[in-house]
């Protein structure tokens, strides 16, 4: 895709490192130079980040960016190749029981035991965390109610819808009363209603003080849920910060989207742009999108020159624009 002027709005806000509450930051996860190699392939290429107590932290990136590998190392399911990784005060490594006892893990696939009922599935998982039978039963009932699955308690898991399965997997991850809940693409494959319910539940958990770490490639999800996030690609961190701050810093607050515009007309419009506009533009499918902190003055100029595009609208920018700007538009598999 053509990207002729690439001067980003450079009103860089310094990324704040304070916690959402403003209290002294207590890092629940702390990665320094975290690296994972599979043979000669570097899946995670030396990344640094901290996840603070009580926040919702997002790992964003296209497929194959290194999100899941990072998550696996945090969950003590994979060894790191180099660097350091501290989770809940302990060095993360496979078999780190003290870390795993305080973690809840929601993997990408809804792995449920097909032979067991809804309740049995999460009860037995609680027993893996060392809960007594009574506590496991009690907590299973609580969590099924919390995840709005109490009507399904005795059903076989194969009768559940995709959204219910995901909620059950989240309930299961909560059986050990985790301090840190880790979710790998929690809403991939869910319908909009199911996604909204999952989001609501994650916010409720956060309000209860659970630290939430999630990966996603849904930008709306990241924007709604995450206090802070890092965007990673090819195993490296491209940007990090709060969603709003990243948007303002990297693409500005607004953009102009022109659907179905003739490329010849675009050339004419481009010619009117000045260096101080700090404009950059890109094609998002059939729309030509112009980003600039000077949008109003550009539009005035076009109006004066009678150049205005036939169809256009100003819209607020979002993380999606940031993401596409940083990771490019080529398809990932």
């Amino acid at each position: 895709m053509s990207r002729m002027t690439t001067n980003a709005p450079a009103n860089s806000t310094v990324m704040s490192t304070e916690t959402p509450t403003g209290a002294s930051p207590l890092a629940v996860v702390s990665a320094r130079g975290l690296t994972k190699r599979f043979g000669s392939f570097e899946a995670v290429a030396g990344i640094d980040f901290d996840v603070y107590e009580g926040e919702c932290f997002g790992l964003l990136g296209p497929n194959g960016a290194g999100k899941s590998t990072t998550i696996r190392m945090i969950c003590c399911l994979a060894a790191l190749t180099a660097g350091s990784l501290t989770v809940l005060g302990e060095p993360a490594a496979p078999g780190q029981r003290t870390i795993k006892a305080q973690l809840g893990v929601v993997s990408q696939e809804d792995y449920l035991d097909p032979a067991l009922t809804v309740r049995e599935n999460i009860e037995i998982h609680g027993r893996f965390y060392g809960l007594s039978p009574e506590v496991a039963t009690l907590r299973a009932a609580e969590l099924l109610a919390f995840m709005q699955l109490e009507g399904k308690t005795h059903e076989q898991v194969r009768s559940l819808s995709g959204g219910m399965r995901r909620r059950l997997v989240i309930a299961r991850a909560l059986m050990g009363k985790p301090r840190l809940l880790v979710l790998d693409e929690p809403t991939t494959g869910l319908d909009p209603q199911a996604r909204i319910l999952v989001w609501r539940k994650l916010r409720e958990l956060k309000a209860e003080g659970v630290t939430v770490l999630l990966t996603t490639h849904y930008m709306d999800e990241a924007q709604r849920l995450c206090d802070r996030l890092v965007i990673i690609d090819h195993g490296r961190i491209l940007e990090s910060g709060r969603p709003r701050e990243l948007i303002l810093r990297l693409v500005g607050a607004e953009c102009l989207e022109c659907p179905d515009i003739a490329p010849a007309l675009v050339d004419g419009l481009m010619a009117t742009l000045r260096p101080e506009d700090q404009a950059w533009h890109e094609w998002q499918s059939d729309s030509w999108v112009l980003f600039s902190p000077n949008l109003s003055s550009i539009l005035d100029r076009w109006a004066a020159a009678d150049l205005a595009p036939p169809l256009s609208y100003r819209r607020p920018t979002g993380l999606e624009d940031v993401f596409l700007r940083l990771t490019g538009r080529e398809l990932r598999d």
Binding site: R37, T81, P94, E109
Partner: protein, 262 residues
């Protein structure tokens, strides 16, 4: 690249007990179909060979034919009950339904998963072996009170065959590769381990080769206990069984740990 080095022996912990519990809960749901699967074949063999062929081959090394093959088939039933579960079922738990993957997100070590599977397979072997014993009773095949000791060798037999089958399940890339284990290992053992005919008349080389495999020793032991006939070499069978059980215990742990954590 892996972080898993050295031997990973099964661990029989509280966590392992919970893995056992999951297997039991799951088995309760399926036992009707599963019992048929595991009994169909040996029972068919017993009836068809024991009474069909047995009408022509009346004696086998001094015993009625059906008395000879009954105890052997009991050993085979125990082996199959364990081998099916630890190959096809364990393959699915690892690769299809993610049961091991979700276990490993909890504070469980792969060695505890193996430990739990070992406990469960010991139980399965006992369960299926004893039910087969109940089938043998009305047929008049059980001749000795020594048969009351059968639970002990059955428990050990479960552990003996769990290790190699679980190792195969962790190494297999698809279901077809599991069939190789049956075709190349399990079925030949079944045919040549003295279940259907005594090994005494086989060429010495072949007999010695057979004695290097585990099933024949289990067959010798179950036959001794059920018929109440104790050959002077029986202690060797016991040693082989215990030795192989311990040796095979180290087989699946490391592979499973690698598959689950890297």
């Amino acid at each position: 690249m892996g972080g898993v080095r050295g031997m990973v022996w099964p661990r029989f912990t509280q966590g392992a007990l919970m893995v056992f519990r999951r297997d039991f809960l799951s088995w309760v749901k399926y036992y009707k179909s599963s019992v048929l699967l595991n009994f169909g074949e040996p029972l068919t063999n017993l009836l068809a060979l024991g009474f069909g062929l047995g009408a022509y081959v009346t004696k086998m090394s001094g015993d009625p034919f059906v008395d000879f093959i009954g105890p052997g088939l009991l050993a085979v039933t125990a082996m199959n009950a364990v081998t099916f579960d630890m190959s096809f079922e364990a393959y699915d738990r690892l690769n299809e339904n993610g049961i091991y993957l979700s276990m490993i997100t909890a504070p469980l070590h792969p060695a505890e998963i193996v430990g739990g599977e070992y406990l469960w397979e010991a139980c399965r072997s006992l369960l299926y072996g004893l039910v087969f014993l109940v089938v043998l009773l009305p047929l008049g095949i059980v001749h000795s009170w020594w048969a009351l000791l059968l639970p002990l060798p059955l428990l050990v037999t479960g552990m003996l065959f769990a290790g190699p089958a679980l190792w195969v399940a962790t190494a297999a890339k698809n279901h077809e590769q599991l069939f190789y284990y049956f075709t190349l290992v399990v079925t030949p053992m079944f045919m040549f381990s003295g279940v259907f005919f005594p090994l005494a008349h086989l060429p010495v080389v072949i007999r010695d080769l057979i004695l290097l495999t585990p099933l024949v020793h289990v067959v010798n032991l179950t036959r001794a206990l059920i018929l109440g006939q104790f050959p002077p070499t029986l202690w060797q069978d016991v040693l082989w069984i215990v030795g192989y059980t311990l040796l095979f215990m180290a087989l699946p742990g490391r592979r499973l740990a690698r598959r689950l954590t890297d």
